[in-house]
Symmetry: C2
Subunit: 344 residues, 2 copies
């Protein structure tokens, strides 16, 4: 049952995304259009479901819409389809940030395929990201076909406030690369922007577009925000101690890449053996077993796991307060569990 | 008189721009905020009026608002101040595109100062451009303090449609660098996106926010669009034959940079001496006199000047149809003349 609903939503999201991106499907800009459809996973080498990703954010958005039953304005049948352009907008924002991220991080692969800047050069890829963001805004504004203008403006505001948080998180992440005085306090504003802002926009705007009461909208927002924090901390743990066959990344790759993850920042504050080694320069692949062992001995793994679990409980508490209804409500919990228990 | 009005508008625009950009003036993101204020010309080495630029686009927007007297909805006193956040939005879009342009073109100087990517590296500069664009959208949405939500949505739509045109023009410009089969037909979609889209958004949204009738809004749009085309063609002429002391660029720098300007595309179609030389590779500084002479002999200068003049007349025709009123109406004509007669 739940799978049928999610499959319908997934199909509607893909159709809407393609329609939105088709704005560039014009005589003079065919190759430009193809750059976007390649990045979205629809065309080019390696295209397909794997390349497109799971569309978790727009699904979370539509499930949030559909899970509101105590609507301020009752309007009969389930109307999640009316919100699909906003769900597409969120996925486009996510992809805009991925395209620019890949340039900024010098990443050559994304979901097993060459990144846009590798295929077409950084100047073109900057423009691809810009176009994805413009279309994200256009998609959000096209909500007006089904919602009052006041709600469209509010949804677009939440979306853009979230985008500014994304740029803040990105700034912090990049600026941290040059610093060696970081503490755990520096961690939260970074992942609050990079990971939580967009997930909280999904659930907050979803509730808004489901005509939820203000208090419920706030609970949905807090659920999404803490879901993002919990997910990121867990991702940090998996990035060091995760099973390669499950995470799809080489073991401890976060250590080799010098990522300022929560376990690392925890151990840096301890100023022990790990801290000493970390400050001496990049970790080599042949050291990762030794270095991740240091982290574990200094309590960093336990601390991060405990933190992730606390945040998960907090997120689930807000979800309970939000009281999502029906099949969609159950599906939200399922999606949250999928996100948070990647080991299983 | 007109100067007093424009000065008031200029001051209001600067104040609003600073308030909008202050969204990043927060504890963790001070250096990020400073990257934006540097680019906007307010802080850092060389800050000041010269670095900030003339804010022609937001001025054109506010003058358009103020020049509407036959309002659909009369509301007493002149209300251009209500539209200032949208004017700021347009200037922020312009600056977002400049920051990304400078990375894409590898330009080291902008208005005599180091560009953002030179100062902070391309990854940070990409993020600076992204933030400027996000804030542009936030500024547009903050129109809601003074306008009905339906108008806010429509203004934001026009703005984002224009931004997609900007990315199209940018794509064409970059893709042309690798082509040697360009004709004059390829020119118009490029400058339509790169130059005209934003100027037409200024006048179109300005008229909308002045509560003009639909027909007048369309005439304002067409005025801005053709003003942009005329301005770009004239800029192309000045980029080859302009007086260095007036243009501020070294003479014929467009030739050395290999820019696909209208005179160049005109002469390439002729397949004469110029075309032969152009296809052999980059023009050296010591050849520019000879090569610009070839262009002139083949009629390219005359053609471009005539085209610019025709477009100017067309723009002024639409402006006449738009019938801007009062002091602001006169000031629009003055601003257009400033843009179009840079030699004087």
């Amino acid at each position: 049952m739940s799978n049928t609903l999610q499959q319908s939503m997934f199909d509607a999201i893909e159709t809407e995304l393609k329609q939105q991106v088709n704005r560039l499907d014009q005589p003079h800009t065919q190759p430009f259009h193809e750059m976007l459809t390649y990045h979205m996973g629809w065309t080019g080498e390696g295209a397909g479901a794997q390349a497109a990703g799971k569309r978790i954010r727009p699904l979370l958005t539509l499930l949030s819409v559909a899970s509101i039953e105590n609507k301020k304005e009752a309007n009969g049948s389930n109307n999640w389809l009316h919100a699909v352009s906003l769900a597409a907008s969120i996925e486009l924002v996510h992809n805009f940030s991925l395209v620019h991220d890949d340039i900024q991080d010098n990443s050559e692969l994304r979901r097993g395929r060459k990144t846009a800047w590798v295929k077409w050069g950084a100047p073109m890829a900057i423009n691809v990201g810009d176009a994805l963001f413009v279309i994200a805004n256009q998609a959000a504004l096209s909500l007006k076909a089904h919602y009052p203008a006041e709600i469209v403006v509010r949804a677009a505001e939440i979306l853009n406030n979230c985008c500014l948080d994304l740029t803040r998180g990105q700034f912090l992440d990049m600026s941290y690369e040059e610093r060696n005085d970081l503490t755990m306090e520096d961690y939260w504003p970074m992942i609050g922007g990079k990971t939580s802002a967009l997930l909280s926009a999904c659930t907050q705007i979803g509730a808004l577009l489901g005509y939820a009461q203000e208090e419920a909208i706030e609970n949905y927002r807090l659920f999404g925000y803490h879901l993002g924090l919990a997910f990121q901390v867990q991702d940090d743990v998996l990035g060091i101690w995760g099973d390669e066959s499950v995470t799809g990344k080489s073991a401890a790759s976060d250590l080799v890449e010098g990522k300022n993850s929560l376990p690392v920042l925890f151990a840096l504050e301890k100023k022990g053996e790990f801290s000493k080694r970390w400050r001496q320069g990049p970790i080599r692949q042949d050291e990762v077993g030794y270095v991740s062992g240091l982290l574990e001995n200094e309590g960093a793994k336990l601390y991060a796991e405990k933190t992730s679990e606390d945040l998960t409980q907090k997120a689930l508490g807000y979800l309970k307060d939000a009281a999502p209804q029906g099949e969609a409500g159950k599906a939200i919990l399922g999606l949250a569990n999928t996100l948070l228990k990647r080991k299983q």
